[in-house]
Symmetry: C2
Subunit: 336 residues, 2 copies
């Protein structure tokens, strides 16, 4: 086990210019490690990779049904979206259903992650609101849960608020892990995030995807959220984004979700497996290539899906004039 194995390298001309170390775990619902590279026992903040797990109480509690959330809306509750107009409209629609608006969101405002959307917003003369925050869908879901539970939604990001207690319990149940001993940080959007071994996070995805080991209501909620994402993959991320395109091509076979700081998680329901990986330095260009290579290795899909994953596992790097100057590629250790 090497804690700092190179998973992705970046070439320029004939040479390797940069290297991304990391670890990856592929685990079944019982926790058996099917494939791994690097140290999969080191605590790793799961960040937004587990947004779908954080959305489980929204469905399990009946809140999603109570407020009539559509597939598009449910998919957004699991999203790290680009702040494109469709994402913003979906989040605003959920809040309106609750009689709330952007002021109720406690995630903070930032310019859309999608560059074109940010420039279009600037060109319109407006600035960003909390609706543009990549987590606005998750937070709209938290507000639905608070309203359904008939608790004061204010302060819903705090660890001791009823909403986060429900969310933490769902994470614990799905990952079959205790979180009270885990290192706890504050996520980019204000909610708690926990540091757990990659193998534990991967097991959580295996259970989430297969339902194995989960109570029937939780297994059903997980299935409902995956089906929403497969039905509306644009909501999960956005234009040109890996998670969106992967689920467009591999609906049913893969639920996949990026997190900040180089974390990426996936459930492979048909194989009963979960994947969690972390790029040591937090780079998303590397976590994406590593996830593409891992999905290729585990699924070996034919046709368009296979071509897509291969293109993302080894991606040309072009300079400003459009000339190909190198590649970002998963290393042989990962590609097999």
């Amino acid at each position: 086990m090497n804690a700092a194995m190179t998973l992705v390298e970046v070439t320029r001309g004939p040479a390797v210019e940069s290297r991304h170390a990391g670890a990856v775990a592929v685990v079944d619902a019982e926790g058996a490690v099917v494939f791994s590279l690097g140290d999969v026992t080191r605590p790793t903040f799961a960040r937004s990779s587990v947004k779908a797990l954080q959305a489980l109480p929204l469905v399990e509690s009946g809140a999603a049904e109570l407020f009539g959330l559509s597939d598009v809306e449910l998919a957004l509750t699991c999203a790290s979206h680009g702040g494109e107009p469709e994402h913003v409209a979906t989040a605003a629609g959920v809040l309106a259903r609750l009689g709330l608006d952007a002021d109720a969101l406690e995630c903070g405002a930032h310019w859309p992650l999608n560059d074109a959307a940010a420039r279009a917003l600037a060109a319109s003369g407006a600035g960003p609101s909390a609706l543009h925050n990549n987590c606005s869908g998750k937070h709209a879901g938290f507000l639905c849960l608070a309203c359904a539970l008939e608790v004061d939604p204010r302060g819903y990001v705090a660890p001791d608020h009823r909403v986060q207690r429900e969310v933490t319990a769902a994470l614990e149940g799905t990952m079959a892990a205790r979180l009270d001993d885990a290192a706890t940080g504050v996520d980019g959007c204000g909610v708690p995030t926990y540091a757990l071994p990659l193998a534990t996070i991967a097991r959580g995805f295996a259970r989430f995807g297969s339902g194995v080991g989960l109570e029937p209501v939780r297994a059903g909620a997980a299935r409902r959220l995956m089906e929403a994402a497969w039905s509306a993959p644009f909501q999960i991320a956005g234009s040109g984004r890996f998670d969106t395109e992967a689920m467009q091509l591999l609906a049913g076979a893969v639920f996949v979700k990026v997190g900040a700081e180089g974390v990426h998680g996936a459930a492979l329901p048909e194989l009963g497996l979960g994947i969690a990986l972390k790029i040591e330095d937090g780079a998303s260009r590397a976590s994406e290539a590593a996830m593409a290579a891992t999905l290729l290795r585990m699924l070996k899909p034919a046709g368009e899906a296979g071509d897509f994953l291969a293109r993302r596992a080894e991606r040309p790097l072009r300079n400003w004039a459009g000339v190909e100057v190198g590649v970002v590629r998963a290393t042989a250790a990962l590609s097999g």
Copy 2:
């Protein structure tokens, strides 16, 4: 010597979330290594860290004098600028002096690296031109050189064009290294970039800064470029950028220049030393923290300059709501 020593870590709450490995070399003009961490012999693409060395022929040839380049204009020829209006105007002014415009630039167009400038440009209804490219000043300098040499400027980015032959010779002379055996790539802006040991790049900065070992005309040109940068540090990078603020506070003591993919170089003329560092994964948040810590270690400046470097060597990480959730900090190995 550990090829992958952690130079910078990113914390969240009580835990380290991400780690950046790398290497740093501090070398004198004779090539003696004064301080190093990691493997400083591994070939490393110098990228834009050596833009000031690439600008030497512009001054040595008399082209800068012929076209009456000001300090502001000369500083821009060494810059990786943010595409802010002042940068764009300066580059356009140099081209106008030559009877040329943005069409003569072969660096390609991209949106300003400075987010506010990009949004303001979008809000104006315009798009980016090659003048907004962070390398437009360097390329304007190449065009000055071509015009002064009375050669056809077209194709000035090619390795066998007279301009790049002059530039390559200046790099070789300053670094006291042969480049014909070095791995060669195409830089982001289209010109050749060479992979050299960090210790060799650092020695180049030591010679550039001190003039030791250089012919008088080259030593004078180096001095002229550094003084231009100290006189107009905004041109070198831009609003809030490390290189700009460091040279505002440490004019005379430090010439410092970032490059893509986690490279950072500096000359310390008063100490006769050069610094070159590379973050393995290419992250600029880490190369900046590592350079700040290295400058702090070597210079130990008092007052505002010391405070600035300390703040950049350990920088708070805030979430979207403005809450401090962790830090980006140079490790003890570097901070000493």
